[in-house]
């Protein structure tokens, strides 16, 4: 099969393509995967060759564990509807343990995990999904008789690096939302100081996970992160600043309710409580499910699911601003403000009337000369 140069713009060497092909990966898929992942990592196109060489024959052992999670992140990766990313990533890694997809169960599965952690000590990548409960001595989540905290500490410390997928393992997520009955914490809080990268989102975007793994394969280290441990390539820009509806925002065209004229015409969802202006994520550029769509494209405002504590800080999801503490849910900051201004005006108005009728308090009475 000959390749036209257009579809292999980065000129991945033939020999690398052959190696990938030998592993049963279609070369077109492989080129596309390498090019897109390089782009997702915000690397120049000249790096495609290096990325391709790194992923063509390495297989990195991965242990994927779940604590307090809904398996949504596993789903996001496995249910990818096109073969490319999902399949290639499963080809790139050697999944040693994953509750969702492995055949083994019970003691057998635990034994497999223990052996993998032992055999690949310091080499395996740990992927954590779900938050770590610390309440009641960790009794809220146990695996094979061990608490999630114990399990997590052991695996994180033995790993080459840890990738937290989804908001729960990254920041505590929904289990950690007030009143946090299980005392859920993030992996970074459970094992401070360990090499951890956070890929928050509800669920994680599979392409960001792939890109992170490819980064590790290519450069032998985790990608550069921000102060919250999120890779800059994926979380370095605000949703609002890359949103396809931004033109409507700047123009002043807003959907006021779901299904109104503005909404049907694709106007900005700011007034419907969109949290794009507060959320750092690459959803508008990468989208979900191999570029199929993302919430704002589908007509629903961003709920800020990849920000720390989003369940508490980004709600009410259909309001722009949080509820003012101590006031009813229908009271907006502006209603309260207008009330405050009216009360002030009234109070000082009355004060003024009373002051007008006040006698003998004006100063310098002796200097006043009345004009004829």
């Amino acid at each position: 099969m000959s390749l036209d140069p257009v579809s292999n713009p980065a000129a991945i060497p033939e020999e690398v393509l052959a190696r990938a092909e030998a592993r049963g990966i279609n070369r077109r898929d492989f080129i596309r995967f390498c090019t897109m992942t390089t782009a997702a990592l915000a690397l120049p196109v000249t790096m495609v060759g290096r990325v391709a060489a790194a992923v063509a024959d390495t297989r990195v052992p991965v242990i994927w564990v779940e604590y307090q999670s809904c398996s949504g992140d596993s789903e996001a990766l496995l249910r990818a509807n096109q073969p490319t990313a999902g399949e290639i990533i499963l080809d790139l890694i050697s999944l040693e343990y994953s509750e969702v997809v492995m055949a083994a169960a019970g003691h057998q599965a635990e034994e497999a995990k223990r052996q993998a952690a032992e055999k690949y000590r310091g080499k395996y990548l740990l992927v954590v999904e779900g938050s770590v409960p610390t309440g009641a001595d960790g009794a809220y989540c146990t695996i094979g008789g061990h608490s999630a905290v114990e399990d997590c500490r052991k695996l994180v410390n033995g790993a080459f690096a840890t990738i937290c997928v989804g908001s729960c393992s990254s920041f505590g997520g929904i289990p950690a939302a007030a009143p946090n009955p299980t005392g859920a914490i993030s992996v970074m809080e459970a094992v401070p100081g360990a090499p951890i990268v956070n890929l928050p989102g509800c669920p994680v975007n599979a392409e960001n996970l792939t890109a992170t793994i490819v980064h590790v394969l290519t450069f032998g280290k985790l990608p550069a992160t921000d102060s919250l441990g999120r890779p800059k390539f994926a979380y370095g820009k605000r949703i609002h600043d890359n949103c396809e509806r931004r033109g409507h925002f700047d123009a002043g065209q807003y959907a006021q309710t779901f299904g109104d004229v503005g909404h049907r015409q694709g106007h900005c969802l700011y007034q419907l409580g969109c949290k794009g202006p507060e959320t750092f994520h690459n959803c508008p550029t990468i989208r979900y499910n191999e570029g199929a769509s993302w919430p704002v494209m589908a007509g629903h405002g961003c709920i800020g699911c990849s920000e720390p504590g989003f369940w508490d800080t980004m709600s009410p999801f259909y309001r722009r601003l949080p509820k003012v503490p101590g006031f009813g849910i229908e009271d907006t900051a502006d209603k309260i403000g207008i009330g405050l201004a009216a009360a002030t005006a009234m109070a000082f108005g009355l004060h003024g009337v009373a002051s007008c009728f006040r006698k003998g308090d004006a100063m310098e009475e002796d200097k006043v000369v009345r004009e004829e």
């Binding site: 033109g247 409507h248 123009a251 002043g252 601003l321 003012v324 309260i336």
Partner: protein, 217 residues
């Protein structure tokens, strides 16, 4: 003999009126940013764009003005000094504060005789300057979010760690209403004192001059 005294030097007056202009513009544009009360009929319009641009232009002007006034607290006369905003640190200030407070609450008859700010007003201004700083810090924090790793986000990142962007927005929004509430009070008190003090309170913030009887001090 009644004296004409030059009390409010030009930097005090200029920064005051620049602040008033900024307050007006920042409140109108900020209110629009919070709840866009005009909608565009064409996508080629740029209403929110202009509102935000104006908000940021006046935000910079406001910041320069407030910082200039702060500098003048160390360079100007003793009425403009930072010490004037802490009247209750001296025995006389505390006495006059009580006197003034009782006058306002109809429990006392006498107004405290002052050349500069009266102690109650000065205390309010201290609070207002705090709110000014709060708006500047919270505003530039929100502003910095467009460019993580940039100058503003570098200077203000700690604010987001402390408060979180949604709460910060609510507070930035709420403080606007506090400032509007202050303004209503402030305008009223200015009028009241102009009527009762008869020493040029209002014209003083335009001209700088007030009419003082030294015997009564």
């Amino acid at each position: 003999m009644l004296e004409i005294r030059y009390v409010w030097e030009w930097p005090v007056r200029i920064t005051h009126w620049v602040n008033v202009l900024c307050m007006l513009m920042l409140s109108i544009t900020g209110f629009y940013i919070g709840s866009p009360f005009m909608t565009a009929s064409e996508t080629s319009q740029y209403i929110m764009g202009w509102m935000r641009l104006l908000h940021f232009v006046f935000a910079y002007l406001f910041t320069v003005s407030v910082l200039s006034r702060v500098a003048w607290m160390f360079l100007g006369n003793h009425h403009a000094s930072w010490k004037a905003f802490f009247p209750w640190t001296t025995a006389e200030g505390r006495r006059n504060f009580v006197k003034m407070f009782r006058y306002y609450t109809f429990t006392g008859k006498k107004i405290s005789y002052e050349v500069g700010h009266n102690p109650v007003a000065a205390t309010a201004y201290l609070g207002i300057f705090m709110l000014f700083f709060f708006q500047i810090v919270s505003g530039f924090t929100l502003y910095g979010m467009y460019a993580p790793g940039g100058v503003w986000s570098g200077l203000t990142g700690w604010v987001l760690t402390l408060v979180g962007s949604q709460w910060l927005r609510l507070l930035h929004h709420g403080v606007m209403w506090l400032l509007i509430g202050f303004f209503i009070n402030h305008f009223y008190s200015g009028w009241l004192m102009d009527v009762k003090e008869r020493n040029g309170t209002m014209s003083g913030i335009f001209s700088g001059y007030r009419y003082i009887e030294p015997r009564d001090l």
